[in-house]
Amino acid sequence: MMLNRKKTGQAPRLASLVALTAAAALALTACGGGGGGTGGGTSPAAGGDQKITFIPKQLNNPYTDVVLGGGKKGATEAGFASSQVVGPLEASASSQVSFINAETQAGTNVIVIAANDPDAVCTALGEARSAGAKIVAFDSDANPDCRDVFISQVVAKDVALIQTKLISEQIGGSGEIAILSATANATNQNEWIKFMEEELKSNPDYKDIKLVAKVYGDDDDTKSFQEAQGLMQAHPNLKGIISPTTVGIAATARYLSTSAYKGKVALTGLGLPNEMRPFVKDGTVKEFALWDPAQLGYIAAFAGKALTDGKITGAPGDKFTAGELGDRTVEEGGLVIVGPPTVFNTENIDKYDF
């Protein structure tokens, strides 16, 4: 039989190969789907062949690398057979779709995604879900209709409030401030900015602080740098800048530290300790905040495991154990909170390495 086929030439052999691969893929997907659907209450060992894939906003981003480092660790500890990272090199709205499609075809059990655009990825995620995959959004949320849970760094409002508090302390409670953000349509940054604006309006402590500009550096070093310059020229009375993005705060810090504005204009926001260390030490930046990004990936992996084992469905009140970080509860809207943000300054920055 085999010999006969070989003699008839390449095409039929290729066809049989394709058929075989397709059959294998189907069988695998079926297995994965079944495991996910009926696995309620079974031990983690039952899902020995489960696969988890992380799709960050973009690859080769230092912050993302720390998040994914925690994710890999969490995936191993949670009991996934394999974990991998795929994603675009550019953080644009549509760039993640093809990667999601590929994961759907590969029959991945859990897709963990940081959405570049909450809606652009929706259709693709919907297809993945109907093929049996569980969707965990982390870092930046997808539309709640297209994912099971969202692992949030911290309560969005807390992130916003700590930044307004820090800037208010640093400029002495009055004066003009500006925000230098990532892209104009970044989900998480826009949510924080919304809360910051509300807080500045409603809190009597901040009545003398005026938000005069919001600019966008697109998470690009060069662009953020020039936006910082522009802010200084357009607003000569500027007392402080909030940059709720790690690229933006570092670029702004670099500009301030090399310009005449060093020490005169306060800067705070969300930054990576390793990136901000020289600027904290030379006095450009007094204090800034961030959570531990590794915990974000770590908890996302455990949430994915709990979902695919059927232990949780993403409904409010669901509880799962996230390894060494202890129990986490799913809140309203499928939200899972990692923990409170940390404030970094000259005294504690050397204790952190990420």
């Binding site: 690859l59 080769n60 981003n61 230092p62 993302t64 690398d65 090199l89 550019e90 500009a213 600019v215 966008y216 690009d220 070093d221 060069t222 740098f225 020039q226 936006e227 310059q229 522009g230 802010l231 200084m232 020229q233 357009a234 000569p236 690229v247 570092a250 670029a251 810090a253 670099r254 090399t258 310009s259 005449a260 504005y261 390793n274 990136e275 260390r277 020289p278 600027f279």
Partner: protein, 349 residues
């Protein structure tokens, strides 16, 4: 017929006045002039609305913003004049910038001059690759360098991964290159101006430099005339690579981080600067000084629109309009030259 003769007669009698008028006319014909006027107007209008624009810090920022694009535009001009183009400059810059970061991380005590030399050599190596492909394979530079744009970027992604080097990882003296000023000019800007002058002298004052124009005007005629077309074009690619390397090292001096995406998308800014500066995209005419002014104009527009608090989304549209205006001016100028040539040749008959 008679009026033409009259004209000639008056032309010879008032030779002195004619010469000075001729000097003025040739000044007016300068392709750099419209760019210079646009730049002056832009700076003036912005300054009147926001005096901070020309504060010492403001001027320093304007110059610093233009520096890297200026060097890249000088290199690009060498190529565009020969009817070639290099789209891989952003990727080359990224590779060299990341290489500079790695170099300092490995050997923090390396003298800065050595780093500059290594960076330029690295860039020249990448340029050699482009040059060989274009001259040996005889495939249009547009296609070759579009390919190497992705090849170099891919290498950078593979090499850097998520690794980034920050300003804090590099010696302070290196970062100071783009902070300290001499007579109000940042050191790296002075370096860029020196590069532009050197390339400009080479282009207008030497035989190989003039050859580049001949190649761009008519490659076939240049070959028949005995110009070593392949060699000249190859060397232009090499020089452009070395300049991209220099720009890469300076990028690492000026900006905070260098990593996998450093310099992405820069090639279009560079080509735009050259075109706006009056370098004809089909070769044969233009100058390095014009391209440098074009770079200064484009980066100044960005700063001035921000200083005027104009929505930044308008910036790209304005840059686009400038490119169109530059091309129209180019077209009108070449039509007028053609007409003049026809008239003067008709006279000789």
């Amino acid at each position: 017929m008679s009026s033409a003769l009259d004209n000639r007669k008056t032309g010879t009698t008032t030779a002195g006045a004619g010469r000075s008028r001729g000097a003025l006319a040739s000044l007016l014909r300068l392709r750099e002039l419209p760019v210079l006027i646009a730049l002056a107007l832009l700076v003036l209008i912005t300054y009147l609305n926001n005096p901070l624009f020309l504060s010492p810090q403001g001027v320093k920022d304007l110059l610093l913003n233009a520096t890297i694009i200026m060097i890249l535009a000088a290199g690009q001009t060498l190529l565009i004049i020969t009817r070639n183009i290099d789209l891989s400059v952003g990727s080359m810059l990224g590779l060299v910038a990341f290489g500079t970061g790695s170099l300092f991380a490995a050997m923090p005590d390396l003298p800065i001059i050595a780093v500059l030399a290594i960076g330029m050599a690295f860039g020249a190596l990448l340029g050699t690759f482009n040059g060989l492909l274009v001259t040996v394979a005889k495939v249009p530079a547009l296609v070759i360098t579009l390919g190497t744009l992705y090849v170099f970027r891919g290498l950078n992604n593979a090499w850097a991964g998520g690794k980034q080097y920050f300003a804090g990882d590099r010696p302070d003296a290196f970062g100071a290159l783009s902070v300290d000023t001499v007579l109000g000019f940042p050191i790296i800007t002075l370096l860029a101006i020196a590069v532009v002058i050197a390339v400009a002298v080479y282009m207008s004052g030497t035989r190989p430099g003039r050859d580049l124009y001949a190649i761009g005007s008519d490659p076939e005629a240049a070959k028949v005339f005995g110009i070593k077309v392949s060699k000249r074009v190859f060397l232009a690619f090499l020089a452009n690579g070395a300049l991209a390397g220099l720009a890469g090292v300076l990028y690492a001096s000026r900006f905070n981080s260098v990593g996998a995406t450093t310099g992405a998308g820069m090639e279009l800014d560079v080509v735009a600067a050259a075109v706006v500066g009056g370098v004809a995209i089909f070769g044969g005419s233009g100058s390095v000084a014009g391209a440098a002014l074009g770079a200064l104009l484009l980066t100044t527009i960005t700063s001035s629109l921000t200083a005027l608090r104009v929505d930044k989304f308008w910036q790209q549209a304005i840059v686009g309009i400038l490119i169109l205006v530059a091309i129209i001016i180019d077209r009108v100028a070449s039509l007028r030259t053609a007409k003049k040539l026809r008239i003067s040749e008709a006279r000789n008959v």
